[in-house]
């Protein structure tokens, strides 16, 4: 007994035929055991038979295009073929499998897709945080239109983002898993919001500049983690490759932003933290002595004097426009 598998161009199995005897033929003619509709295949093209040693032997029945090895494209002389080796006749690929050909072990079912209850909870939390942020940033006249628009646009963007990943998953691994992608996206949005808010409060509390100066690093890293998580959802294979690719892209992005920052730092709106004030309740750092502050202000002078000659002169202007 043996199986003859007809394969697609992508080496997926298109059809399997069980051969109960010890020999079979493949061709376009209806007298064959396996019939293929391939104009480049002879009416009776190839014969497969088990020899005395139990090996499957392939025999060209006098076709014009012959039998070729799929990997090399070289013509194959008649002789034994190992189980699973892919051969080509015309534009059709096939392989012979013995009944005892090994199959991979049974895989565990993927973790259960996020339940709709979890998804709903995540969506509500993400939306609530966004509404809260919007409300706290509204310091002028309250307008429903202006307030609601972001609350409508953001969910649409989130759905589109998760949808694109689901589509990719459907193409690459055959399953969309939209719910899981949506859950990953929502968790990421919540995490972004929490980290950004915490960063700006910590920056205010301690009068630190770095949380805002390096926010782009956190944003890029977060985006990298998010993409990696989506890739993991799509398929579990090539974990290391995926991590390396995402990591490399992330590093390139961070490097580019660092260069841009270095080029524009000090031009345009200065980084003083004045644009990110919080209620005084959150201040942790004690108010310093004016002497100490002016001492630190005086320390800027040597650097400015060096910058007169060291800083590259570019044609650019300060980006901030003011009546100043």
């Amino acid at each position: 007994m043996m199986w003859i598998e007809i394969l697609s161009r992508h080496r997926d199995v298109v059809s399997r035929t069980r051969i109960d005897g010890d020999a079979a033929t493949i061709g376009r003619d209806y007298s064959n055991d396996v019939v293929v509709d391939d104009p480049y295949v002879a009416a009776r093209h190839v014969r497969l038979a088990r020899d005395d040693a139990g090996q499957v032997v392939v025999e060209d029945l006098g076709s014009r295009n012959g039998v070729r090895d799929d990997a090399t494209g070289a013509r194959v002389a008649s002789g034994a073929v190992a189980s699973g080796r892919v051969l080509r006749i015309g534009e059709t690929r096939f392989a012979v499998r013995d009944a005892d050909a090994p199959v991979p072990a049974e895989k565990a079912l993927p973790a259960a897709a996020a339940s709709s209850r979890t998804l709903a909870a995540l969506a509500v939390v993400a939306l609530a945080m966004q509404v809260l942020d919007g409300w706290m940033a509204t310091t002028g006249e309250f307008r429903w239109t202006g307030f609601l628009l972001p609350q409508i646009v953001t969910p649409l963007v989130v759905l589109a983002w998760a949808g694109i990943w689901a589509l990719l998953g459907r193409l690459l691994s055959g399953s969309a898993r939209f719910g899981t992608h949506l859950a990953v996206t929502l968790v990421a949005i919540i995490a972004f919001d929490v980290i950004a808010t915490a960063g700006s409060y910590v920056g205010y509390a301690f009068a630190w500049q770095w949380p805002s100066d390096y926010a782009y690093v956190a944003t890029t890293l977060g985006l990298g983690v998010l993409c990696y998580a989506h890739l993991r959802v799509i398929g579990d294979r090539h974990r290391r490759l995926k991590a390396v690719v995402v990591g490399a892209l992330g590093l390139v992005a961070i490097g580019t932003q660092a260069l841009t920052q270095a080029d524009t730092r000090g031009y345009g709106t200065p980084s003083t933290g004045m644009g990110r004030l919080k209620p005084p309740l959150f201040r942790m750092r004690p108010a310093q002595d004016a002497d100490a502050f002016f001492g630190r202000a005086a320390e800027l002078q040597p650097g400015l004097d060096r910058a007169r000659t060291d800083e590259p002169v570019t044609a650019g202007r300060y980006t901030y426009d003011d009546d100043d």
């Binding site: 031009y267 200065p270 644009g275």
Partner: protein
């Protein structure tokens, strides 16, 4: 008609008692062409006609040419003040040639159509004056009016501005003397008459043909509001230029730096001398200067519709000092501003967002060419105010250096009170073209005056 006649009589009276022109370098033994008194009274047009006839031979068009192309890149006016061909114009008319002598050169066009090269002898960047020399002796020149000799024009007296407006040809403009500009640290004559581009550096003369001032600027948005540099600054510069060693073109920037540094030393000493007084803003006090040379404006959003959710009251005081250095740089101003912001119905976090917008705009606001200034560097921290409660302030100090003028900086100091969650004061001092030491000193005085009202 009666009014005009009165003015004419006044002029005649003044001219009659005019003494000889002052100044060591000019004029020599000969009587200046334009110094002869005019016939008193008479029709207005006749006066202008007579003045123009007298003044015209001494007036020049001053052109800055791109050396390679031989074409004009800026135009102004000027006037001869001595027989050896020394002439006065504005610094801003010759600034390109002064700063980039390899690219630009100066040329004059006299009213008789002759032209020739001009040499820059000296300039005064603070008062926007320059002294140039013709390559030939002059046949006509003007004398300066001498204020200490009773030659000061009276308010309402007729003056005549001469120059070449918009390169249309030499012209004379009749206007009135309106005294010195109030609230100006540097003396400036307020001349009510139409000065147009191209007339800069030309003379404005009395009916007797003596130079009362040098045309320099007009108020944008005003009607016939123009400004003159008082003649005595020009007379001083001419006197200095004629005795000074020949000037080297390469020293221009060092000379500008020297003049700006000297000016700011005097100016900041004067500001410190006048001292700040604490002005009340709700529960806070903040410094306002006692000096009179600030232009102060207040604004409020109290009447806005819909009603503001945070009430903002702003006062902004700025000196009129605006020193032209080059086409992209004016400096020398000092500005103090205070915004008192209080919540109407914002919660603490919303109020902090609103305050961030006000304070962020105050701390920022930096513009300019990167080839003139370094990048802006800042320090920010919480600082305890110099009051009994040690009110916490959020303070930022930002500074940038002038690339071409060592020792001069632009500095912005912003302070925001941080003791209430529904009310705050945002105070800012902006110092342009100041030494670091003076900025630290005045900044410290400024900050020490901010705090809770006693």
């Amino acid at each position: 008609m009666t009014a005009r006649l009165a003015v004419s009589l006044l002029l005649a009276a003044c001219v009659a008692c005019a003494p000889a022109a002052r100044g060591a370098g000019h004029p020599p033994a000969e009587t200046p062409v334009a110094a002869a008194p005019l016939p008193p009274a008479g029709p207005v047009s006749a006066a202008a006609e007579a003045v123009y006839a007298k003044v015209r031979p001494a007036v020049l068009q001053v052109r800055t040419l791109v050396d390679a192309a031989g074409r004009q890149s800026t135009l102004g006016s000027g006037f001869v003040v001595s027989a050896d061909g020394v002439a006065v114009t504005n610094y801003h008319v010759v600034s390109r040639a002064a700063l980039e002598p390899a690219t630009y050169r100066l040329e004059y066009l006299a009213s008789d159509g002759t032209r020739g090269a001009l040499k820059l002898l000296a300039f005064d960047v603070i008062h926007d004056l320059a002294v140039v020399k013709l390559e030939r002796p002059a046949t006509a020149w003007l004398a300066f009016a001498a204020p200490e000799g009773g030659d000061t024009p009276a308010k309402g007296e007729r003056l005549f501005a001469v120059g070449n407006p918009l390169d249309l040809g030499f012209a004379i403009v009749e206007g009135t003397y309106n005294g010195l500009v109030d609230k100006s640290y540097n003396e400036q004559i307020h001349f009510t008459g139409a000065l147009n581009p191209g007339m800069s550096g030309g003379p404005t003369v009395t009916a007797a043909g003596r130079v009362a001032g040098v045309n320099v600027s007009k108020q944008v948005g005003g009607e016939l509001v123009s400004f003159l540099v008082p003649a005595h600054y020009a007379a001083d510069l001419v006197a200095r230029a004629t005795v000074a060693a020949p000037r080297k073109a390469a020293d221009t920037r060092a000379e500008i730096a020297r003049q700006l540094t000297a000016f700011q030393a005097e100016f900041y000493a004067a500001v410190a001398d006048k001292a700040f007084r604490p002005a009340k803003f709700g529960p806070y006090v903040a410094p306002e200067s006692n000096a009179t040379w600030f232009d102060c404006w207040a604004s409020t959003n109290g009447d806005d519709l819909p009603p503001p959710r945070a009430r903002a009251d702003t006062t902004r005081c700025r000196t009129r000092t605006s020193i032209f250095v080059n086409d992209e740089m004016t400096t020398g101003s000092l500005e103090l501003s205070h915004t008192h912001l209080r919540s109407v119905d914002l919660n603490a976090i919303q109020f902090a967002s609103r305050l961030s917008m006000v304070a962020g705009a105050a701390a920022g606001g930096v513009s300019g060419s990167r080839k003139l200034y370094t990048s802006t560097q800042c320090r920010a921290d919480f600082v305890a105010a110099h009051d009994s409660a040690r009110t916490p302030l959020r303070v930022s100090w930002c500074a940038r250096a002038y690339r071409d003028f060592p020792g001069l900086y632009d500095v912005w100091l912003t302070a925001v009170t941080q003791d209430r969650s529904d009310e705050a004061l945002v105070s800012r001092i902006a110092m342009r073209g100041v030494t670091y030491a003076n900025a630290l000193k005045l900044g410290r005085t400024f900050l020490d005056t901010i705090g809770g009202a006693p």
